[in-house]
Structures are given as structure tokens and as C-alpha cells.
């Protein structure tokens, strides 16, 4: 049979292309037994210098590469545990804290960990003055005085504060990433132009953690290598490989094929989709972000407590959490996230149209109209549309002002909104982080510019200011927790804030992965306990 030469050539080309596509199939490899491979979106990383890092993905790295004087237990992050310090004490006047270092711990360089390193690290954080420095500035530490406020002698670090703060406030702040201990000698060897080694530490590590940062490429991934003879015991996973995979569907496919061990950015739809797969499992945690609705009290109507109360009973919290926000959000009706000292877990409000109508009638507000600023993100739009619907049933007209996040933030910070649907994440593992913003405003003038959430809503907390101020000084941990509970009870019934949800996270993983802790609302991920 004669074959047209052109056709024959095309046939050869097509066959060659097919062979090229098919041939490498046999080369597929599973993840190595002693390596944890994770897929996540890590494009939020700004720096891996612990005294600069302030984003979720960066803090995950810091948590595994560095240790602090005190730390949180990854499996149950409820309160400070000994880290590099074996014991600590506070003076009678409550303004001097001493930490005794554990002996025999070394940095990854081999240098021994000393009290000098610990003091240097805290001083470094204040002197560098990067984003998270304010966490330590709260204790009266400034660039000028930190060398006198943070000192060392032998194996003891001494921290002085400008006021007798609650000891738990200091200890909780010391568990934050900014307070971890870096290797003074190594860091200063890499100092350039007086930057205290900042440029070098952005992509290198000098810590005591279970892992060393071996490589980091922005928007690509990072590799952590386990240290041998680590003071906590060797990590079962000899290496951790984090791959930047922004697309959830791609993460799911990689996980199902066994090319990664953990996927951290799956959507609720993907989570539902893998439920039938016996090789995989899903671990649900809550994160720290609180979603809330708030009203600008420059509008007098929002000072009317009955009106605010009517709106609290006009939201279908559970309905949203069970349907459109399923797996994404958990109903939460107070400003401290679950997991924090003094957090309230009860949910007293629910959708009750009749009750809301009665409260609205009592309030005396006629023909109410609320303009809610909403960021153009899917979950927020779902919330806003549901609120628009249920407020409508009560007789409150809602107009949604939908826009880009940064623009809406600008309006919010300038107190130009009427109402806004927002979220807020805590900055450090102490209740003051949210109390100091939701329930603190000591100058309600337009030009005060304090930036607290209370100020943005022109809300004068009045007596709640006093509780916030007293709680941060309360030396008895239990009493302090009770004060925050009392503060939140009052806040959620009198303030122009309606707390709605706490964000939820789902990590999907291969069935053989165990002891993977994400840190929940309060801490960062811990890889050194993972087995598979």
C-alpha cells in the first residue's frame, strides 16, 4: 500500500510525541520515608529573620528552627512551658523577671547557648524595630533603654519592665516568634552595615530548633534539615520539604497521588471530595482570625443598645456555618479566639426574627438603613448577603458597598464607613492583643489616630477601658482569665461589634502521617513531632 509521504511524516511525528509523553511514566517516585513533604501557599513570607517575620508561613519556619526562653506545647498550646530557660521568677514589685538558662544546649553552629545570646536576641528585636517589635515595646523597652532593661549575668537573663504587668502577659509574649533566641556569634559574623545580621538571617538560620533552614526560594519552597543529637530528641522526619503550590485543586491531586504528605490549602469542596478516600485523612483546627460586623458610632443610631441588640438576633450564624461557610468558619461570639486565655466558647445569639423585631420596635429607630462595607472575597460576600436577607426580614434595609480590601481598609481607618464586615487576627499569644484593640480607646477624637478597632468605630468603651487596663496588670493568672471573660461578656452586649465567626483550617494528609500540629489559633506549625 502506498502512503502519502506527507502523511507518513506526520504519523512519525505524532508517534514520537506520544512516546515522549508516555515514556517517563515509570519514573514516578513516592515521598521518601524520612521526609515530610508539604504543599501550602507560602507567598506571604517576607523574611525568615525571626525578629522580623510576622506572617503565618514565615512563623511556621521560625517555630521549627528556633526556640524561645519559654514555649507553647505543640500538642496543647495552653500556657508557657520551659524552652531554653529551665525556670523563671518574678520579683516582689512585679517589675523584674529572671530566667535561668538550661545547660548543655547548642546552636546549629555548635556554639553553646548562653544567657548572653538570649539577652542579645531580645535587644536585637527592639533595635531592628521590624513589624513584630511592638510586642516587646509594650514592656517599656525602647532602642535607647533596652540594653539596661534586658541584661544577663552568668546563666541568668534579667528582664525589667516599666510597669508591674501581669506575669502571664510577659510570658505569653515571650512565646511569640519575635522573642526566640538567635546565635549571637554567628549572626554578628554576618552583620553588614550595622544590620545586626538581618539581611543574612532573611534566608539563613542560626537557631537551636530541631531543624536547620537548608534552602529557601521565595514562591518556590523551602527545605529544613533535622539536627542530629537535638536537645529535645531527634526529629523522626530527617527533612521537611515545603512546596509552594497556590492552587487547591493541584494540592489535592498531589496528595491523592502520594507525591506530598500534607496539603494545607484545600477548599471545603476538596475536603468533601477526599472524604471517601481511605488513604487520606483530614485534621480540622481553628485559626486565630475573628470575623465581625461593626458599626461606626459617629452615626448616633449605633449608640442605641436596643438597635444593636436587634441586629445581634438578626443573623443566621449557625445556618451560615452549616452551609456556605461549612468547614471554613466556626460560630464564635466574642473577640478572643478559642485557645486564648479567657476565651468564651458559648454562643448566646442566634437568628430569632421575632425577638429582633421586638427589640427594633423598642429601640425607637424607624426605617433603619445600614450600609455595610464588604471586601470582594467569596466568604465575606456569602456572609454579607445572608445578613442582608435576615436583616431585611426584621425590617432593616441593608445596602452592600463591595470593594477591594485595601481600599475598604483605608475607609475604615479613616472612620468613613457606616458599617463594615471585617476580620482581625491576633498578633501574639496573649489576650491583650485583641482586648487592646476591640475594647480600648482612650481618645475618641478624630485626630487621635490610635488605630484600635474601637477607635475606628468611634466607640468609647468607657468602663471597659478600665477593665482592659486592669487585666493586663493582674498578677494572678486565674483572676486575669476571669477578667477577660467579664470584659467580653460586657463587650458583646454593649459595644457596636458583633463577633460572628472564628476561621477554621483543614489540613489533609496521607493516612500514615501522625502528630502533625498546626498550632491552632495561638501557635505555629510543629514538624519535629511528625511521624509517618
Amino acid at each position: 500500500m502506498l502512503i502519502d509521504p506527507t502523511l507518513r511524516r506526520v504519523g512519525v511525528a505524532v508517534a514520537a510525541a506520544l512516546m515522549m509523553t508516555a515514556a517517563p511514566g515509570a519514573l514516578l517516585a513516592e515521598t521518601p520515608a524520612d521526609t515530610l513533604v508539604i504543599a501550602d501557599a507560602i507567598d506571604d513570607i517576607v523574611s525568615l529573620d525571626p525578629q522580623e517575620a510576622f506572617e503565618f508561613s514565615g512563623l511556621d519556619v521560625i517555630n521549627n528552627v528556633y526556640d524561645g526562653l519559654v514555649e507553647l506545647d505543640p500538642s496543647e498550646p495552653t500556657g508557657p512551658q520551659p524552652g531554653l530557660a529551665e525556670s523563671w521568677d518574678v520579683s516582689e514589685d512585679g517589675m523584674t523577671f529572671t530566667f535561668k538558662m538550661k545547660p548543655g544546649i547548642t546552636f546549629s553552629s555548635g556554639n553553646p547557648v548562653t544567657a548572653e545570646d538570649a539577652a542579645f536576641s531580645l535587644q536585637r528585636a527592639v533595635k531592628l524595630d521590624k513589624s513584630p517589635a511592638f510586642i516587646l515595646n509594650q514592656f517599656g523597652w525602647t532602642k535607647d533603654n533596652v540594653d539596661q532593661m534586658v541584661t544577663f549575668d552568668g546563666d541568668t537573663v534579667t528582664l525589667k519592665t516599666d510597669k508591674p504587668y501581669a506575669p502571664t502577659f510577659l510570658y505569653n509574649c515571650l512565646t511569640a516568634g519575635v522573642a526566640v533566641v538567635v546565635d549571637k556569634k554567628t549572626v554578628l559574623e554576618h552583620e553588614a552595615n550595622g544590620d545586626l545580621g538581618n539581611e543574612w538571617l532573611k534566608t539563613n538560620s542560626a537557631g537551636t530548633g530541631a531543624y536547620i533552614l537548608k534552602s529557601y526560594k521565595p514562591n518556590e519552597g523551602y527545605i529544613l534539615q533535622a539536627r542530629e543529637g537535638h536537645w529535645r530528641g531527634d526529629a523522626p522526619m530527617k527533612a521537611v520539604f515545603m512546596r509552594h503550590v497556590p492552587e487547591a485543586a493541584t494540592q489535592r491531586l498531589l496528595l491523592e497521588k502520594g507525591d506530598i504528605d500534607v496539603a494545607r490549602e484545600l477548599t471545603p469542596v476538596d475536603i468533601e471530595g477526599i472524604k471517601g478516600n481511605a488513604d487520606l485523612k483530614v485534621q480540622s483546627d481553628v485559626g486565630g482570625q475573628i470575623f465581625y460586623l461593626s458599626f461606626n458610632q459617629k452615626n448616633e443610631a449605633y449608640k442605641n443598645e436596643k438597635f444593636l441588640d436587634a441586629m445581634r438576633w438578626a443573623i443566621d450564624y449557625q445556618g451560615l456555618a452549616d452551609t456556605v461557610l461549612k468547614g471554613n468558619m466556626v460560630v464564635h461570639q466574642a473577640f478572643l479566639p478559642k485557645g486564648y486565655l479567657g476565651a468564651l466558647d458559648d454562643t448566646p445569639f442566634s437568628l430569632d426574627v421575632e425577638k429582633a423585631k421586638a427589640l427594633l420596635a423598642e429601640s425607637g429607630v424607624t426605617a433603619p438603613k445600614v450600609v455595610i462595607d464588604v471586601r470582594n472575597a467569596a466568604d465575606r460576600m456569602e456572609m454579607a448577603q445572608s445578613i442582608q436577607n435576615t436583616f431585611g426580614q426584621v425590617g432593616i434595609t441593608v445596602e452592600l458597598n463591595i470593594g477591594e480590601g485595601a481600599e475598604q481598609l483605608k475607609r475604615y481607618r479613616a472612620r468613613q464607613h457606616d458599617a463594615t464586615l471585617q476580620s482581625w487576627g491576633p498578633d501574639y499569644p496573649d489576650p491583650q492583643t485583641n482586648a487592646g484593640s476591640f475594647a480600648w480607646n482612650d481618645n475618641n477624637a478624630d485626630d487621635a489616630g490610635t488605630g484600635t478597632l474601637a477607635w475606628r468605630n468611634a466607640y468609647d468603651p468607657g468602663p471597659l477601658n478600665d477593665i482592659t487596663a486592669a487585666a493586663v496588670m493582674e498578677r494572678d493568672g486565674e483572676k486575669r482569665a476571669a477578667m477577660y471573660q467579664d470584659l467580653q461578656q460586657k463587650h458583646r452586649t454593649t459595644s457596636p461589634f458583633i463577633a460572628l465567626f472564628q476561621i477554621g483550617y483543614n489540613s489533609a494528609m496521607r493516612g500514615n502521617v501522625n502528630h502533625f500540629y498546626t498550632g491552632g489559633a495561638i501557635d505555629s506549625a510543629a514538624y519535629w513531632l511528625v511521624t509517618k
Binding site: P5, T6, L7, R9, V10, A13, V14, A17, M20, T21, A22, P24, G25, L27, L28, A29, T31, P32, T35, V37, A39, D43, D44, I45, V46, S47, S131, F134, K202, K214, S215, K217, P218, N219, E220, G221, I223, A239, F241, R243, H244, V245, P246, E247, A249, T250, L253, L254, E256, K257, D259, I260, E404, A406, E407, L409, K410, D427, G449, G451
Partner: protein
């Protein structure tokens, strides 16, 4: 003064130099225009770049200080001149997110895009040109209809859908190819430690290092996204080849060649093809440029750490220096490809010399 009708003596080299000078000036003007337009777009979008940098917690004083530090307090024309001056000195600015110089970041991610799109356009040409020729020589036949249908699908199907379906089928179900990313996890880690990056292109670097196992793994990863890009450019190349070829096959010199008894393959692939090549070079160069700039979605789906992913991530975080820098690199690549196609054009077509 007496008028002279004699032509001035001309130096052919001078003419060529003039031509080249003109081309370079028009290239520079194109890049300058691109810089201006992207700069203006980045400035007029209703996003406050300062708030994007300092974040929600910043005080008013910090915001103002950052605004001054970025030069945003100056008039826009002044800002543009400063930016232009920096770009001319090879400074594309610093990424807001990572603090990394944009030029350095682009230098890191661009080879991944270049590797992917080069392979893509090679596949596109190898499949598209023969398909177009086949369709042109047998117009109205089943082969012609198939080529047209396949081309139409390449035009009309969204690339993210094709990418996901391709991944699902060839990686998820059949297991013929490697998954998203440039290497399997185990090879990726070995690559970090064992291979010295020379070009940033994994196929070349692993080959240079003699790591053929890693090369094969990299090939298994790149083949699917490259085929997808190849398919997209094939759709365009095959349609254009068909049209150019049909035009040539109707010319008298083709009839003459056939009458002289020349074999058909020689008529098509030698005589007609030589003339089809001229416009085809522009088509291929445009496809190549399109792949360089247009692989954004493909890179996101395939977790490919290239320029497309970089620009997408930068856009998502309002990192305007990174967006601008990436756009300029794409623009320069586009202009350069145009220049190369112009030069090739002159090489292939004697009339254009």
C-alpha cells in the same frame, strides 16, 4: 548652482546600519511606551501602595514616613522620571513583599518560564506545521477537518480547564507523567544540594551535571505543561500554515514544478515551504512571545515557579514594583523576539534584504 541628476553614491553597509539603527530606535520607543503605560496603570489603580506595604497595624506616622520613603509624595511625572532613571541603571525596584530586588527575583524565575515556553513552541511547531501542510494539501478531506477541529478546540477551550483535565488524566489516572512542580520531591531536594544551577533551566542544568535520572524526572514533569502550551500554539500555527500553504500552492511556479515532474513532497516541502517560511517566522515568533507572557494560568495550575506565577502572586498582594518589573521583562522579551523575527525574515526572504 548647477543641479545634478546623477544619484549619490551609496554604501550598502550604510543602508543596513541605518536600517538597524531605525529598528533599535523603534524598539527603544516601544519599551519606553510600555514602561510609561504600566507605570501609569500601577499608579492609578485604586489601591494605596503604602497601606499594602505597612499593613493594617501601622500608625499614621509610619504610613506618612513610608509614603515619603517611596517618593509617593512627589508629582507623578517626577516619580516616573525617577523610576525611568532607575530602570535604565538596571534597577527594577524592590519587591514590597519580600524586600528582594525585583531584577534578582525575575532572574531566578524567568529561566523556568523560558524553558517551559521554548519546549512549548517547539512542540507547537513540530505538530502545527505538518498539520497545517497536511490540511492545505488535502483541503476538504477528513484530515483537513480534523486539523481544523483540533485547532478550534485549542483556540476556544480555557487553558486552566485543559490543564486541570490534562493533569487529572495523564498524572492522576494514567500516571504517565510527573505531577505539578519541576521535579519529584526527592529529586527537588537532591537538585538543591547536588546540582549547581548554571542556566536555571532544569533540563539543561541536570544534563550538564550528568544527572540523567534527574533529567528524565524533570522531562516527565515538563512534558505535560509544555504539551499544553504547545497545543495552544499549534492551534494558531497550523491554521496559519494551512492558509499560507494554500496560497502558495495556487501560484504558477508550483504548477510549473509539478508539470516538470518534480515529486510532490519536493514541491511542497522545498519549493512552496521556502515561501511559506517567510510569514510563518512572524507567526512562530508571535506564538513564542504569547507563551512567554501568557503562561500565567498554566504556571499556577502546574505549580511552576516561573514569571507567570511571580506576577500573579505579586498582583494578589498589591506588590506593584514586582508587577511592573515582571511586565517590563515580558515586554522586552516580546520586543526582542520581534527583532529576531525581523532579522530572520531578512535572512529568509532575499527581497527584504
Amino acid at each position: 548652482m548647477a543641479a545634478s541628476s546623477a544619484p549619490l553614491p551609496t554604501n550598502p553597509w550604510l543602508g543596513r546600519l541605518r536600517g538597524l539603527g531605525g529598528t533599535l530606535i523603534s524598539l527603544a520607543a516601544t519599551v519606553l511606551g510600555l514602561l510609561f503605560i504600566t507605570f501609569i496603570i500601577a499608579r492609578v489603580v485604586p489601591i494605596d501602595p503604602v497601606l499594602a506595604i505597612v499593613g493594617d497595624r501601622a500608625t499614621d506616622a509610619q504610613i506618612e514616613a513610608t509614603r515619603v520613603a517611596l517618593g509617593l509624595d512627589k508629582p507623578m511625572w517626577h516619580q516616573f522620571l525617577i523610576y525611568l532613571g532607575n530602570v535604565l541603571q538596571g534597577d527594577l525596584g524592590t519587591s514590597i513583599r519580600s524586600g528582594e530586588p525585583v531584577l534578582q527575583a525575575v532572574g531566578r524565575v524567568f529561566p523556568a518560564t523560558l524553558e517551559l515556553s521554548t519546549l512549548g513552541v517547539i512542540i507547537g511547531v513540530l505538530a502545527g506545521v505538518p498539520a497545517g501542510v497536511l490540511a492545505a494539501t488535502k483541503p476538504g478531506s477528513i484530515a483537513d477537518h480534523i486539523v481544523r477541529l483540533v485547532g478550534l478546540m485549542g483556540y476556544s477551550m480555557p487553558v486552566f480547564w485543559l490543564g486541570l483535565i490534562g493533569l487529572l488524566l495523564f498524572y492522576g489516572v494514567l500516571g504517565w507523567v510527573g505531577g505539578p512542580g519541576r521535579l519529584d520531591a526527592i529529586y527537588q531536594m537532591q537538585f538543591e544540594f547536588d546540582v549547581t544551577p548554571v542556566t536555571g533551566m532544569i533540563l539543561i542544568d541536570t544534563a550538564l551535571a550528568g544527572r540523567w535520572d534527574m533529567f528524565a524526572n524533570a522531562l516527565s514533569h515538563i512534558i505535560l505543561p509544555a504539551s499544553l502550551l504547545g497545543y495552544l500554539s499549534m492551534a494558531y500555527i497550523s491554521r496559519m500554515t494551512r492558509s499560507f500553504m494554500m496560497n502558495e500552492l495556487g501560484q504558477e511556479y508550483i504548477t510549473t514544478a509539478r508539470v516538470k515532474g518534480m515529486p510532490e513532497w519536493r514541491v511542497i516541502w522545498v519549493h512552496a515551504m521556502r515561501n511559506v517560511m517567510v510569514p510563518l517566522i512572524t507567526v512562530i515568533a508571535l506564538s513564542y512571545a504569547y507563551l512567554l507572557e501568557g503562561s500565567v494560568l498554566t504556571e499556577t495550575i502546574f505549580a511552576w515557579p516561573g514569571l507567570g506565577s511571580y506576577i500573579t502572586d505579586a498582583l494578589m498582594t498589591n506588590d506593584m514594583p514586582a508587577v511592573l518589573g515582571g511586565t517590563i521583562v515580558v515586554g522586552v522579551a516580546f520586543v526582542t523576539l520581534n527583532l529576531v523575527s525581523d532579522l530572520l525574515y531578512k535572512l529568509v526572504d532575499p527581497r527584504a534584504r
